[in-house]
Amino acid sequence: MNMDLNRNTQADSDVQSASLNGSTTAVKVGIDLGTSRSAICSSKGDRLVMASVVGWPKDAISAKVFGRKVLVGDAVLENRLALKTCFPLKDGNLAFTQTDGDDKETLRKAGLHLFTALRQAANPGPNQPVHAVIGAPAEATRENKQAIIDLANEAGIEGVMVVSEPFAVAYALDALEDAMVVDIGAGTIDLCRMAGSLPGVEDQVTVFHAGNHVDARICELLREQRPDVQFTPNMIKQAKERFSSVVDTHKRALVQFPINGRPTEIDITDQISAAVGELVPHITEGIQKLVSTFDPEFQHRIRNRVIVSGGGSQVYGLQEALEKGLEELGGGHVVIVDDAVYAGAQGALKLAQEMPEEYWQQLGENS
């Protein structure tokens, strides 16, 4: 696994992290379990983001080449031609909870391997317990939350708490009152309004038109308009992450895609811009839903503090596009989180560290 390449030290950001506590015996970790990528921050100061994918060698030769029975993370994407790959998460949830038949066990094992890899990334000492707060989609089902707890326990994480991902972001930013968090991921866009208490069902919305839908839409548009171009969804995903924008800029999205096997420069600016732009109405619709059902006396407060996080928040021009969308609701102010990739994991770590130790002990006894 290519963990070292992804390992990152904690950079300056607007995410407020709790102080590292070396006195506790357990390593505390915060995990943002994402459909496309998962991030982990540990109380030891390590943090890592990895692709949420697991791969098994296709045959004896590839098993010999890799020297391992299973690979997890970015190494799987880099060597996917020699591997059977499996994405254990779908639409933000553990996929095996929504699947029947032969695939169910494979997906469950893939989820277990992902948790094991995340635990290893926390780098605990021998016999040192790990306590984790894990972010899940805002509208995750009870079965899915329980599955997260079970698999994490099975992977050797002793204490597990599940938290809604946007709430973890809000906690990281100390935006516990008069704020709305929009967490744009690959599988889901999670919206959560913060009113000074733990958000309930009525405070959260999950939109399933997220990053993966954008990738699919770009593929569709490119196939329609340039049928001669050869590409894979992964190539489109990489191009989108590099060039995504919802506004018309002079910067063109020029990529080298093959035509009849010959690398050719293709301009996919229009396709990316169109597909990414389709996200905005879904987000503003979610914001409208949460604002309109809030106490009318305080609606303007949450409108004026919309915090956007997640990989999708890095789309150029999104802030202006959302503020324009909010004009119909009377206007608002949108802030993009600096450390978008780690904000959720950092908030989850902060929760894990500030959670009283006796609570962890109780959960450990119950699990």
């Binding site: 509208e139 009870r142 329980q146 599940v162 709430f167 100390d174 150029y316 600096d338 109780q362």
Partner: protein, 223 residues
């Protein structure tokens, strides 16, 4: 101006020679007479330029392009100088100037450098034309985004500083009477952490069937 040349003798030698009157009728007022060697030089230069442009437009590797240009230079600009001048043993008029020809190697270097310069200039021109707009837009966009984020960051830090000041002021007033120092969020956070813990306990209890069918009050939607 040497347009008024006798035409009859030329007609016999070269069928491409035009009648001056005919040229005038066509609207041509001036004609430059060019020497044979100058004409050859111009033709070579034009051919070299055409080859360079062609090489620039071809989808070739840098190595192949350089090789092509070198071959072109060899055969066009550095090729044979043409027929040797005829030596006249006893000229009627002796030359009054002495022309010193540059060494052959020097001439070759000069033309080589000129082609290389042209090549480099062409590449630079193409690069600049292609990239400067993109680069400018990128820098402008990046700069604007950074400024906006910095402004927001400053705003947040200012707020945080204000809160810190308030806490410090309050701590100073309470010093001696109350030893515990709390941040404005401490109490709220305690409640939130407790609620989160309770929600997770409830989730486990529901799943283990102790409270079958009931929904947790706090976190998220239950199926």
């Amino acid at each position: 101006m040497s347009s008024e040349m006798p035409q009859n003798s030329h007609k016999k030698q070269d069928t491409r020679v035009h009648d001056v009157e005919d040229l005038r009728n066509r609207g041509i007022r001036k004609i430059r007479v060019v020497g044979e060697s100058q004409l050859q030089e111009m033709a070579r230069e034009a051919a070299a330029k055409a080859v360079l442009e062609l090489a620039a437009n071809l989808d070739l590797s840098e190595e192949a392009r350089k090789s092509l240009v070198a071959k072109a230079r060899e055969s066009i600009l550095d090729g044979s100088p043409g027929p040797s001048p005829q030596v006249i043993e006893n000229p009627v008029i002796k030359p009054d100037v002495r022309v010193v020809d540059p060494p052959a190697q020097q001439a070759s270097q000069v033309s080589g450098i000129r082609i290389q310069d042209q090549e480099v200039l062409q590449e630079l021109s193409k690069l600049i034309a292609r990239d400067w707009r993109t680069e400018l837009a990128t820098v402008q966009n990046s700069h604007r985004a950074q400024v906006e984020r910095l402004e927001m960051r400053i705003e947040e830090l200012t707020k945080a500083l204000r809160v810190t000041d308030q806490v410090l002021t309050r701590d100073q007033t309470q010093e001696g009477t109350d030893g515990s120092a709390e941040s404005p969020f401490d109490h709220k956070k305690e409640e939130l952490l407790d609620q989160l813990f309770q929600a997770n306990v409830a989730l486990r209890e529901i799943s283990s069937g102790e409270i079958g069918g009931q929904r947790s009050e706090g976190e998220g939607r239950q199926s």
